[in-house]
Structure formats: structure tokens, C-alpha cells
């Protein structure tokens, strides 16, 4: 996991936690053994976390290949 944001600034503890949560959701979304209720809700949550991490400059990437 990155320890700086897009601008190279060291992440705060809050930002580290947020980015960790985002990474966990990405890993979950990539799995193919989730039941529909989990698969779709994980994607919805990931979309929200993508936005939070994007706003905080923690990542800037696309998630279409995960269906998000």
C-alpha cells in the first residue's frame, strides 16, 4: 500500500485507514465466489470508497474491469 498521496505527501493515519478499506473492497470485488447480495453491495461500497480516496488524492484509477 502506498504511504504517500498523489502529490507525494505522507498519508495521515486517517488516510491510511481509508486507503486500506478501499484496498480490501477492491480485493473483495475481484473475487468470484461472492453471492449476489455481497457482490453488488461490495461494488456499491467500493464506488463510494473510490470517491472518498479520489477526493483525498489517495488514488486516481479506473475500476471498470471490476464492474464499478
Amino acid at each position: 500500500m502506498a504511504d504517500t498521496d498523489i502529490l507525494g505527501t505522507t498519508l495521515t493515519p486517517m488516510e491510511q485507514e481509508t486507503l486500506r478499506a478501499y484496498d480490501v473492497l477492491k480485493q473483495l470485488a475481484a473475487r468470484d465466489d461472492l453471492p449476489p447480495c455481497a457482490a453488488r453491495n461490495v461494488r456499491k461500497a467500493l464506488a463510494c470508497l473510490w470517491q472518498a480516496t479520489n477526493d483525498l488524492d489517495l488514488q486516481f484509477e479506473q475500476l471498470y474491469d471490476l464492474g464499478v
Binding site: 467500493l46 464506488a47 470517491q51 464499478v68
Partner: protein, 445 residues
């Protein structure tokens, strides 16, 4: 509860140098994405002899060719429904919208994925929060909820920020007025035209909206949201603050919003967009304080990337310091001032509908109006058809004379014919108002 004044304190107050570094980083990634996945963009980059890896500074942005609506429409025609623009398949989309059709023959069609939609609502959150909407608010949407994107994103943004949302969908204006009062609505979202209409109908119903709980009106969809006379009328009528926003289907959301400090303009959301202002004829950038055409690059919707898109919107950019709110996003003074292609040429004089409206709206006895252009033999004529507010008809003789003089003075002596209309004969609008009627014959060769 005490809230931050900013939706995103980190980026909204970022020093300009860092903001530009962020824009460059996002530009590099977005262009790489577009080049790799959108045949439309790859072709354009290749034709310009440019590869995204060559974008090393923010100034290199200008090496990217302008993107136009015409190219977009052509691509849709050649390859229905979405052209060669999308970077991924329709199976990844959760929403479809299209332009309202106010300009151009073919509507622009767009798709959004889950995260694109999240971003679209996020931009509205910047605007709503910036104008003072908070979780305690009751937000009303006077909006028809159709395929036109309109206030869709704003609706979801209001949910996201925790407000109580009331979708005032398909119902009469009278029913909407009653619902606003009954539900203790604090924030009304509408076009400027329709906000005036709601107030007029409330008057007819004997309801004084200035006595309601509404304290904020958020405007979008028409340039008049930043015309001082329109805002003044609305603020007095409703007893509420009016804030302007502007967006476009092509990017899916708003790019600019007026903050609660009401600086007479709208902040650009610069951590998610690059907004250039160019001379529409030469394509060269214009300095702060000079009127030009908006060119937008979006870092949001990756499904259909928008890079250096010529909007034809007329704007005047000022540095962020023109507002005391602390945001470092620059400002469009007067919001969107109209469209370059809205200009009408009448006997050699340029006439911009927004400028005409700004003069008309200085007269608060005027209820509704229409700009009517026609040809009298070989001579172009322009009329202003006017409906007076009930009870103000006595003011007509003096007003018509003053109005004719003011309009003429502002247009190199061009004669404007001022016509009084019977109340209720001019059209009323819910979404984008179409107050200009040009009936001059089109030349056929």
C-alpha cells in the same frame, strides 16, 4: 453541530501550486486511460502526433486537440449509439442520460458506471455543501426526472450529504408549491425561470413564500442564475439566498458553484476539472478578466473521457482571491454568461439573449417576456413581448418607453419594438427556458 465550511477541506483550500500539480497528475493518468481504451481519443491523439507520455507540464495540455460536440455527434452517427468514445462496455453502466437538445441536432448520449455516478453526485456535494446545505436541510427538487440529466445528480448528492430529499416529480406547479410549504422545505432546486414561476403561482394561491421555511434556492440550467436582477427578484420574492451552479450532460455534473459568500460568481471545482478560457476565434488562452469560451477537461467520468471540450459557453475568469471564502478554485464572474453561438445578428448589431434578459429583469413589474426576431421584407426586426405582473399594468406606458431606450442604448442604437401581451399568453418553462424566437427565413442556395 459544527461542520467544516468545505466539503473537501484538503483540496478546496489547496495552494495553487499544489492544485496544479494535482491537475497534471490526473491529466496524465486520464489521457493514458483514454488513449489506451477509447478509439475516439486514440485516433485524435495519433492524428496530432501526440502521445500521453509527452504531457510533462500543465502547459502541454494545449498540445491536445480541442474536442467538439460536432465530432462527438458524428461518432455517434457513424457508430450508434455511443460512438467510438466509450472506454468500456455498456455492461459496466448503471445509468444512461442524454442532452436536453437545446443546441445541435443529435443529442449527446452518455453512460455512467457506479463510480462515475458516485463522482457525479460528489460534484454536486461540493456545490450544495459550499452554499450551506447541511444534513438538517429539507431539499426539494422541482424537476421532472426524465432522461435529461438535470438535477438527477443533485438529488443523489442531497441524499449523500444526509439531507431529507423530496422529489417533486410529475405534478402541477400548484401541488409543488403546497408541498414545499407543507413539508417545511428549506432548500429549493430549480431553474431560475421556474423558481419565478413557483413564486407567481404561490401568489395566485395566496401563499407568501417569504414566510415559508425556504432559506436557500439553488439554481441551475440557465445562464440567468447569475444575472443580478434575476437573483435580486428571486431573493426578495422567496426571502431566501439564491446560489448559482452550472453543469453539462457531456461531463455529467456541475463544474462550478456559487459558495455561501456569494461573490458574484461561481467557483471552479479545480481538483476535478481543468477549465481553460480561450478566444473562440483564435483558440488562444485569454487572461483573467477577459471574456472567452470555456474549454473543459474532466477527471471524472472515465467511461467517456472529456478532454479539452469546447463548450461554446461564454465566461470571464477571475482569480480565486475575488472571494473571501478561502477556496483556491478560481471564479467565473457572473457564472455562465451565455453561449457564443446564441448571438443574433440584427442589422449588423450583435444581440446576446442573456444581455437582453439582464436589462429586462431590472424591471420587476415584468412578469414574463419573449425575444422575437423576424424579417420585414428585407429588414430584420426585433421585438420584446412583455407580460406585466398583475396590478402593475399602470406602469406599462413609462416602462415600455424606458425599456426601449435602455435596450437600444446597449445595442448601438438598434430599435427594439416593445409589445404588451395579454397575461398568460407567453409560454412558461420548467426546465431550460426558450425565450428567443427567431422566425427569419433561412436562406436556401
Amino acid at each position: 453541530m459544527a461542520y467544516s465550511e468545505y466539503w473537501n477541506p484538503k483540496n478546496e483550500t489547496l495552494p495553487r501550486e499544489q492544485l496544479q500539480a494535482l491537475q497534471l497528475a490526473k491529466l496524465q493518468r486520464m489521457t493514458q486511460w483514454a488513449y489506451a481504451r477509447s478509439p475516439f481519443h486514440k485516433k485524435r491523439f495519433d492524428a496530432a502526433g501526440l502521445h500521453p507520455d509527452q504531457l510533462k507540464t500543465l502547459d502541454d495540455l494545449r498540445r491536445i486537440p480541442f474536442m467538439t460536440r460536432e465530432e462527438w455527434m458524428e461518432s455517434q452517427v457513424e457508430q450508434p449509439l455511443f460512438g467510438a468514445l466509450p472506454t468500456t462496455g455498456q455492461e459496466n453502466a448503471i445509468r444512461y442520460h442524454l442532452t436536453s437538445g437545446t443546441s445541435g441536432r443529435v443529442p449527446i448520449r452518455v453512460l455512467d458506471s457506479m463510480k462515475d455516478w458516485e463522482w457525479i453526485t460528489e460534484m454536486w456535494c461540493y456545490g450544495f455543501w459550499g452554499f450551506g446545505v447541511r444534513p438538517e436541510d429539507v431539499v426539494y427538487f422541482a424537476f421532472g426526472y426524465g432522461s435529461f440529466i438535470g438535477f438527477w445528480g443533485a438529488h443523489y448528492a442531497s441524499e449523500k450529504l444526509g439531507a431529507l430529499v423530496i422529489p417533486g416529480g410529475a405534478q402541477t406547479t400548484e401541488a409543488r408549491v403546497r408541498q414545499i410549504v407543507e413539508m417545511g422545505v428549506t432548500t429549493v432546486c430549480s431553474t431560475p425561470t421556474y423558481a419565478l414561476r413557483l413564486w407567481q403561482v404561490a401568489q395566485e394561491l395566496g401563499i407568501d413564500l417569504a414566510q415559508s421555511k425556504v432559506n436557500k434556492i439553488i439554481l441551475s440550467g440557465e445562464p440567468s442564475g447569475s444575472i443580478p436582477a434575476v437573483k435580486r427578484q428571486l431573493e426578495e420574492a422567496w426571502g431566501a439566498k439564491c446560489g448559482d451552479t452550472a453543469g453539462m450532460t457531456e461531463v455529467g455534473t456541475i463544474m462550478i458553484f456559487e459558495c455561501s459568500h456569494q461573490p458574484g460568481g461561481t467557483h471552479i471545482i479545480e481538483d476535478h476539472f481543468i477549465e481553460e478560457v480561450i478566444n473562440p476565434e483564435t483558440g488562444e488562452p485569454v487572461p483573467y478578466g477577459e471574456l472567452g469560451e470555456r474549454v473543459v477537461t474532466s477527471f471524472g467520468r472515465g467511461f467517456i473521457p472529456v478532454l479539452r471540450y469546447r463548450t461554446k459557453d461564454m465566461v470571464l475568469k477571475l482569480p480565486y482571491s475575488a472571494c473571501a471564502c478561502g477556496r483556491t478554485g478560481d471564479i467565473y464572474q457572473g457564472g455562465i454568461r451565455g453561449r457564443w453561438d446564441d448571438m443574433k445578428l440584427i442589422r449588423g448589431t450583435n444581440v446576446y439573449p442573456r444581455a437582453v434578459e439582464a436589462i429586462i429583469r431590472e424591471h420587476d413589474a415584468i412578469d414574463e417576456f419573449q425575444i422575437y426576431i423576424w424579417r420585414n421584407d428585407i429588414r430584420d426586426e426585433i421585438s420584446i413581448k412583455v407580460e406585466m405582473k398583475p396590478g402593475r399594468e399602470d406602469e406599462w406606458p413609462a416602462l415600455s418607453e424606458t425599456l426601449a431606450h435602455e435596450l437600444s442604448s446597449a445595442h448601438e442604437g438598434l430599435r427594439f419594438i416593445i409589445e404588451l401581451m395579454t397575461p398568460g399568453t407567453l409560454p412558461r418553462f420548467e426546465l431550460k427556458a426558450k425565450r428567443l424566437k427567431d422566425e427569419r427565413p433561412v436562406a436556401v442556395y
